[in-house]
Amino acid sequence: MWFITRRLAFYAVAAWVAITVNFAIPRVMPGNAVDTLLAKYPTLDANSLKALEAEFGTHNHGSLISQYFSYLGDLAHGNLGLSVNLYPAKVTTVIGQTLPWTLILVGTATIIAFVLGTLLGILSAWRRGGWLDRAMPAFTFLQATPYFFLALVVIQLFAVSWGLFPFGQGYSLGLSPGWNWSFISSAAYHSFLPALTIVVTSMAGWMLQMRNVMITTIAEDYVLVAQAKGLSPRRVMFTYAARNAILPNLAGFALSLGFVVAGALVMEIVFSYPGIGLTLYNAVTSDDFPLLQGIFLVISLAVLLACLLADIVYFFADPRTRTRTAY
């Protein structure tokens, strides 16, 4: 239990840091929400200005500490404020509309990449010196390819030259989001190219790591014993060698999620995909601080939550974490 307690304490601290960084962002950066709105609508009178200031909370010129606590209070009530750019939409509404797009696309693609990469890593280690193992430099090239560059190439080939897939966007024009077949099929069709880029670029990392750990594991005595017992090669490969070799990959999976979010940010911009990355980018370019803050907070907390889940999986997968006092 020591392991879980320690991790929970860590996540509490990490969440607090994320929240505090988030609090600091608009106070360190130049400009504020009302100035941005003023620039957009120069004809506002004094009364509406005052009302706006009250609404965005910029009238609060109390000490930093009192601002910090009122910010925490707002957070506790799930109040993230109003978006400047999409005024008067609530930040929570905007995030609620865009987050599912990113979660479904990036989540699915990441899991596919993880499973595929790990499997290929197992195979290339098992058949060391085989064609898959010899193709390793090609995979390192893919690993070093920027997401968005591959996205450009994929758009050029599949969308511009061959016209097989759409250019970007989340779904066809004229459809409205809902749980009906034409919308879902359109969304799946539109998300194929983005998913492909994520899978291809992130697969190689899993594969290389899995291969390296697997090779070390294969040389262990217990694997030799399993082979000597006459178990089928497949059983030795998966339930003896791979089962232990997968642990570092599992641990890395949690840590990689931050990078996945980052990759998704650029990918969404290239594909004009209506996810949270594109919204964040628009918020940055248009000085929409409340929205920017809200999205940053949601991303940080989502990564933390995913890490926590991965930790729990790790806890059950690796018995050593349950007995050791320190890790």
């Binding site: 997401y147 450009l152 050029q156 511009v160 070390t216």
Partner: protein, 308 residues
């Protein structure tokens, strides 16, 4: 002489990586002087990108700027930023990782917590936000911000290694014979972590290149300077993909991937130096069967010679 000897001793993959890296460093140094055209000079009246031809080997952008020249000039910025970030972040990682591992106790708890918090903060969104509001003043500030978010990966690994080295007998012996702490760290522990530090440097450079190019692609960089990232930014803004002008965006993208690949290959080579098992060994033919390294040791059955 020394370089040639070092190259000969390297594993094959690392050799390829070192050669590619060498080419990039060379281009970073002499690129601007050998560029055939001024990368920003445009042809008046031109509206469409020209495909590669005799004068412009890699074609031109929509305004008639020479892509090859942009590439040669832009290499410097990307390479300098990558190596600089690698240097700063690795230095941070070594200092923090080694002090955490060596000191143990509360300092270790605190520093490990700090590293873990930095690891889970989403770096790119944070960088977009921070750099988006900093004045764009060249490579150094960007490198510092990138390093500030890039050190924890190396620090974790170095801490773990220091932790295991600290309890070795030879370190205890050095301590018993009255050596000072800084001497133990510098002369007993550091030399045993050179491989790890090099690997962490290589990994950080890869992160720095990919992140800085992504940032420039988003427009969060000094757009008046040429780098692989800004080239991609202008290509994207000039609708290079829709125009089918692959020669506009492919060269910088491929260069980023090649540069990154050289780093991954070097990392591979370093891993193989430390762990000989990782070297790709071929199959062995014994008798009629092909044996793979994962198979049990082959045993040759003696065949009876038949007499005629």
């Amino acid at each position: 002489m020394f370089v040639a000897a070092a190259l000969r001793r390297m594993p094959g993959k690392a050799k390829v990586g070192a050669v590619i890296l060498g080419v990039f460093v060379l281009v970073a140094i002499i690129g601007p002087t050998i560029a055939p055209f001024d990368p920003t000079a445009s042809t008046p009246g031109q509206a469409l990108p020209l495909p590669p031809n005799g004068t412009h080997w890699l074609g031109t952008t929509a305004t008639g700027q020479d892509v090859l020249s942009q590439l040669l000039v832009g290499t410097r910025s990307t390479v300098v930023l990558g190596l600089l970030t690698g240097l700063i972040a690795t230095l941070l990682a070594v200092v923090i990782g080694m002090s955490a591992g060596f000191l143990g106790g509360m300092p270790d708890e605190g520093l490990s917590l700090l590293a873990n918090v930095f690891l889970v903060l989403p770096a790119l969104p944070l960088l977009v936000v921070i750099l988006g509001y900093l004045p764009h003043s060249g490579e150094l500030p960007t490198a510092i911000v990138l390093s500030a978010l890039g050190w924890p990966w190396g620090a974790r690994v170095i801490r773990a290694q220091t932790l295991s080295l600290r309890n070795r007998d030879y370190v205890a012996a050095a301590r018993e014979s009255g050596e000072r702490t800084w001497r133990i760290i510098l002369f007993e522990i550091l030399p045993n972590e050179v491989g790890l530090i090099a690997a962490s440097f290589v990994g950080t450079v890869l992160y720095a290149i990919l992140t800085s190019v992504a940032l420039a692609f988003l427009g969060v960089a000094d757009l008046s300077k040429w780098s692989y990232g800004t080239m991609l930014y202008w290509a994207q803004n000039g609708n290079a993909v829709q125009l089918g002008a692959w020669w506009w965006y492919a060269p910088p993208g491929i260069c980023v991937a090649l540069f990154g690949m050289s780093m991954v290959l070097l990392n591979f080579g370093l891993d193989e130096l430390g762990n000989p098992r990782l070297r790709a060994t071929g199959t062995v033919k014994v008798g009629r069967r092909t044996w793979r390294p994962s198979d049990p040791t082959p045993v040759l059955r003696e065949t009876k010679q038949e007499t005629v």
